[in-house]
């Protein structure tokens, strides 16, 4: 129950910070680290596909509500990201930072790509190279860098709440 509350607060904070504080750190490029992707990636990595998907769905839905446009588009995107990242949940280890950071970068890239395909390609913007170079890759890298710091926080919170028990493989084998 606590974990649901914690994720609700994390999603809300992510939306508020992304649209009001992080825009000051875009350095004139219009690119900001995507805090929602970070929340979804962390959730999926820690808790698996189904829960990652649910967190992604609600995160996307909140974004849909606050930004206008059709309801359910971002929800769909973030849900897929939650599902894809859920595949990595089997490799979850505490304090591992490399894998989730790579996952976050990949997820942000996929998210931007989905946005491009569904929202701009349908408008006839065919110059994908420019979008990849000036929007998707910078956004993915920026998200990854910020995620290094943010993920430590997420992991700490997750461990404080759940105190997960893992099989100690070193003892099983011996």
């Amino acid at each position: 129950m606590v974990i649901v509350l914690v994720y609700a607060v994390e999603i809300l904070l992510a939306i508020l910070l992304k649209s009001s504080v992080f825009i000051h750190f875009s350095f004139g490029t219009g690119i900001v680290p995507d805090l929602l992707v970070m929340v979804v990636v962390a959730a999926a990595y820690q808790m698996g596909k189904t829960k990652g998907m649910i967190v992604g769905f609600f995160a996307g839905l909140m974004l849909d509500i606050t930004t206008g446009g059709l309801l359910g588009v971002y929800a769909l995107f973030y849900m897929f990201i939650g599902y894809l990242n859920g595949f990595m949940a089997n490799f979850y280890v505490q304090n591992d930072i490399l894998l989730p950071v790579v996952m976050a970068a990949g997820s942000e890239f996929i998210f931007m790509f989905l946005c491009y395909v569904f929202k701009l390609l349908t408008k006839g913007r065919l110059n994908i190279g420019s979008y990849v170079l000036h929007q998707m890759i910078p956004a993915a890298l920026y998200t990854a860098v910020v995620f290094i710091i943010v993920y430590r926080l997420f992991d700490l919170i997750y461990w404080k709440i759940t105190k997960p028990v893992f099989t100690d493989y070193s003892k099983v084998e011996s």
Binding site: F22, F57, I65, G72, V73
Partner: protein
């Protein structure tokens, strides 16, 4: 062991994915079909988030201002010198203009022309959030229909066009700016009076331009000509400055010309805007 404890979570994730994808598609469909109902739900939810956003924006702006202040001292000193020079130039220009304005007034009286340039009633508003999904340039203002704001009102800043209001709640409103990739404004070029379309383009924006389309092939328009909103537009009020033409060239079809447009508004450093409280529809009815 986990399966025995919680059998209700036993559903395969891919089936959950399938079901939730369908839920999403239904949501998209219904929010498209019944936009009024969903709009009111969204407005209610948004009204809860907006106050929080306002608070956080205030903090964010505070932090940003403190950082900026250190950087700006040098810049300001340089700027003062430049501005003094410019002030002098403008004063001289102004005198010259006043002279010719006086002359113009006289001619107008002679011809009995009505005063064409209307001054629109405006209301100031602060930007409290920006949609930063990369491709879109929308933002949220801190005034809503309780402050007399309505959908389709024009938004100005730096005496140029910023965008148009697309959504209104009790104490907030959402603006789609002219640099948004989905935004089209019908416009008119000064001096040559050619009609054209100004549309946002994300690729060009990174080098400080938006796009201008559908200029007639026979146009006499040159770089640095001013572009204003056209009286033909449904939603945009006439005679609002949009920007300056640059890099005009022939289109491949041989029928039209396209070019770049430098907006007068500095979209990067926008914090306050003016909302024009007059609607184009009302203007037409009045006429």
């Amino acid at each position: 062991m986990k399966e025995r404890k919680k059998p209700k979570y036993d559903m395969e994730p891919r089936y959950v994915l399938l079901i939730m994808t369908m839920v999403c598609i239904f949501l998209i469909f219904f929010s498209y079909r019944f936009s009024d109902l969903f709009g009111s739900i969204r407005t209610r939810l948004n009204s809860m988030i907006i106050p929080m956003q306002k608070g956080i924006t205030t903090i964010g702006n505070g932090i940003n201002n403190t950082i900026d202040r250190f950087e700006e001292v040098d810049k300001l000193q340089k700027e003062i010198v430049e501005l003094k020079a410019e002030n002098e130039r403008i004063t001289r220009e102004k005198e010259r203009m006043e002279q010719s304005l006086y002359e113009l007034e006289r001619y107008k009286q002679l011809f009995g022309l009505a005063d064409n340039y209307k001054t629109y009633p405006t209301v100031g508003a602060n930007i409290i959030a920006k949609d930063t999904s990369g491709y879109f340039a929308r933002f949220t203002l801190d005034k809503g229909y309780k402050d007399g704001i309505a959908v389709d009102m024009n938004v100005l800043a730096d005496s140029g066009l910023v965008g148009i209001i697309t959504e209104v709640g009790p104490h907030y409103s959402v603006v789609r700016s002219i640099i948004d990739d989905n935004n089209y404004v019908s416009a008119i070029v000064t001096k040559t009076e050619d009609n054209c379309i100004v549309c946002g383009n994300l690729e060009l924006l990174s080098i400080g331009y938006i796009e201008i389309r559908d200029l007639s092939i026979n146009t006499e328009a040159r770089n640095n000509y001013k572009v204003y909103t056209s009286p033909l537009s449904d939603k945009y009020l006439p005679d609002i400055l949009i920007g300056y033409i640059s890099n005009i060239q022939n289109e491949n079809d041989g029928l039209t010309k396209t070019g770049f447009l430098t907006p007068v508004v500095d979209f990067e450093h926008l914090t306050t805007v003016l909302i024009v409280t007059q609607l184009k529809v009302d203007m037409r009815e009045a006429e």
